[in-house]
């Protein structure tokens, strides 16, 4: 019986169950009521797979008369878990950089395993078959570039690296050249696996390529980049599954890869970029074209008292949050505003643009953290037709996603990008620090429209002043 618990058939069966649980886990993630069941399914699958692997390793050790190094397996698992707990407890505002960091960790694991498999393979009597070598090259090239690319993304999101894009002449040609050299080496290695001096060079180029891929990318493009790196991390894990002939890894990698791919497509559509544009990493182009002409146009501003009066008189208010809300940590004050207005009988909803924030779904998580019920969070397509019936559209820290120039001005760098039709609301209020153009440096004609009121100040302070007016003056 003990032999059965470590046999090939047994482990195959365990991996089969784990694969089914992983698929169910993602299936249950489709809506909030079942989503937590999805986590449980994923966890059970994971524990089964790890437990089964260790059992099978023991049986193999007995058959081949080698001692299995259990001590280090458990020490490493323990250290990993100890690092994982603080990474799982970060603040919700730090989720984008945490996600980027975990892409780096995942790809790091895959690259290290690939490297170890390479050196074990070339020194084994069987050598390195061409097929195995080719998928191994895919694994470590994708893995290597994802490690550094994700670290760069995490650094930009944590603001330890400059958020603005760093570009130089011939960047794309230089990058593609590097990638071509790495692929060239990979092809050579497939035919001559024993040319081991080339292996570190190939991995090194991939690692540098990851850095080069992300430096030209600005903060506003991070949702696409994070999704793309997610996809690369998944594909490198799937490639590792091919190398090890492990179907569970192939399935998990393919699921992760397609998830990242779908999210990248959604993000690039929401920014009106073509998918090839995304694939070649040329995300930073918008900035280069941006040059807003600053002329004297009149801007109407309002005080917290006036804004509170307008909001209290409204029947329907739609709040449009953006990255500025996250930066100002204003989500809890926004919830208080939601409470105060709801109490007065005002219908309050939130309009979430797909690329608002720094990663897919960023705004939803922040507002859910602040206890805003998720049935009040509306997607762009769901709410865009309603704006003519909305009394007040309140924009908090969002800019480009509300820019009407995207619909009308062919010269605008964001022309064609789907935006929220906030200017159709009876009154549009914009909380903004100053008239400085936003991150991308694109002028927003919304601010000069006759029904727009500018509320100058820090988002958190301004919203809390409105709340004070609404609750105190009643």
């Amino acid at each position: 019986m003990t032999d059965f618990f470590g046999s090939q058939a047994f482990i195959g069966f365990v991996y089969l169950i784990a694969s089914a649980l992983f698929i169910l886990s993602l299936k249950w993630m489709n809506a909030p009521p079942t989503a937590r069941r999805g986590i449980l399914a994923g966890e059970i699958g994971m524990v089964l797979a790890i437990g089964g692997t260790i059992l099978q390793l023991g049986t193999e050790g007995k058959l081949e008369h080698i001692a299995i190094n259990y001590t280090w397996i458990f020490i490493a698992l323990g250290i990993g878990a100890a690092i994982g707990v603080p990474l799982g407890m970060v603040q919700m505002t730090a989720v984008p950089q945490r996600t980027a960091l975990s892409h780096a960790f995942g790809a790091f694991c895959v690259t290290l395993v690939g490297t170890a498999e390479y050196y074990l393979g070339i020194h084994s009597p069987a050598g390195m078959p061409g097929f195995k070598m080719s998928v191994l090259c895919c694994e470590v090239i994708l893995g290597g570039l994802t490690v550094t690319g994700s670290l760069m993304a995490a650094g930009k999101l944590q603001e330890v690296l400059p958020q603005r894009p760093i570009t130089f002449k011939g960047q794309n040609i230089f990058n593609l050249g590097m990638l071509a050299v790495a692929i060239g080496i990979a092809v050579y290695l497939v035919h001559n696996p024993n040319a081991s001096y080339l292996y570190p060079i190939m991995v090194g180029i991939a690692v540098v390529f990851g850095v080069m891929l992300v430096i030209p990318i600005g903060g506003a493009d991070m949702p696409t980049v994070i999704s793309l790196l997610n996809s690369y991390a998944g594909l490198s894990a799937a490639a590792m599954g091919f190398v090890l002939n492990n179907k569970l890894l192939i399935i998990a990698g393919a699921l992760d890869g397609s998830s990242g791919f779908i999210l990248s497509v959604i993000m690039s559509k929401a920014m009106n970029r073509s998918f090839t544009n995304v694939l070649f990493g040329a995300f930073g182009q918008v900035q280069a074209a941006a040059a807003g002409t600053q002329e004297d146009r009149t801007v109407r501003s309002a005080s917290p008292e006036e804004s509170a009066g307008i909001l209290a008189a409204a029947n329907r208010v739609v709040v449009v949050p953006g990255y500025g809300m996250a930066v100002a940590q204003a989500q809890h004050k926004v919830r208080e505003l939601y409470d105060a207005l709801t109490k007065r009988g005002v219908d309050v909803q939130f309009a979430i643009h797909p690329v608002a924030g720094r990663m897919p779904g960023h705004m939803n998580v922040l507002l859910a953290e602040a206890d805003v019920p998720y049935d009040h969070l509306k997607e762009m397509d769901e709410i865009n037709g309603d704006f003519p019936q909305v009394d007040v559209a309140l924009i908090i820290g969002a800019n480009d996603v509300t820019n009407p120039a995207a619909k009308t001005d062919k010269a605008s760098p964001i022309y064609g990008m789907p935006v929220l039709d906030v200017e159709k609301a009876h009154t549009t209020m914009v909380i903004k620090r100053s008239m400085n153009p936003g991150f991308a440096g694109i002028d927003n004609p919304l601010y000069y429209m006759p029904n727009t009121l500018m509320l100058f100040g820090d988002a958190k302070v301004f919203v809390s002043n409105i709340v004070k007016e609404l609750t105190g003056g009643h």
Binding site: L26, A31, L57, V95, S102, F105, C109, V113, G234, I266
Partner: protein
């Protein structure tokens, strides 16, 4: 080798299509938790690293394997933990306040 490759490609192709169909249906509301849970599931790569450490065929394989197990385990633990914390926050009706 040939049949193993074809088998693996079949699995990859089918899993890709399943992933596409399943993930397409996920509400944009949950895109951030989706990304953190796929990250945790992806860390199943830990099984490859565990085999490397367990066998410890060369000192290099052992050290690379240990580092790989640490990196992947931190993703598993951290990924499930944060996904759970996020999903706990999503409520559809307001909690009653005292």
């Amino acid at each position: 080798m040939g049949t193993i490759l074809i088998d693996s490609l079949f699995v990859f192709m089918l899993a890709g299509f399943i992933g596409f169909e399943v993930i397409k249906r996920i509400s944009p509301l949950l895109h951030t938790p989706l990304m953190s849970i796929t990250n945790a599931l992806d860390a199943i790569a830990v099984v490859g690293a565990i085999v490397l450490v367990g066998r410890s065929e060369t000192p290099m394989a052992k050290i690379l394997g240990i580092l790989a197990v640490i990196a992947a385990t931190s993703n598993i633990v951290g990924g499930f933990l944060i996904t759970d914390r996020m999903l706990k926050m999503f409520k559809s009706t307001r909690p009653t306040k005292s």
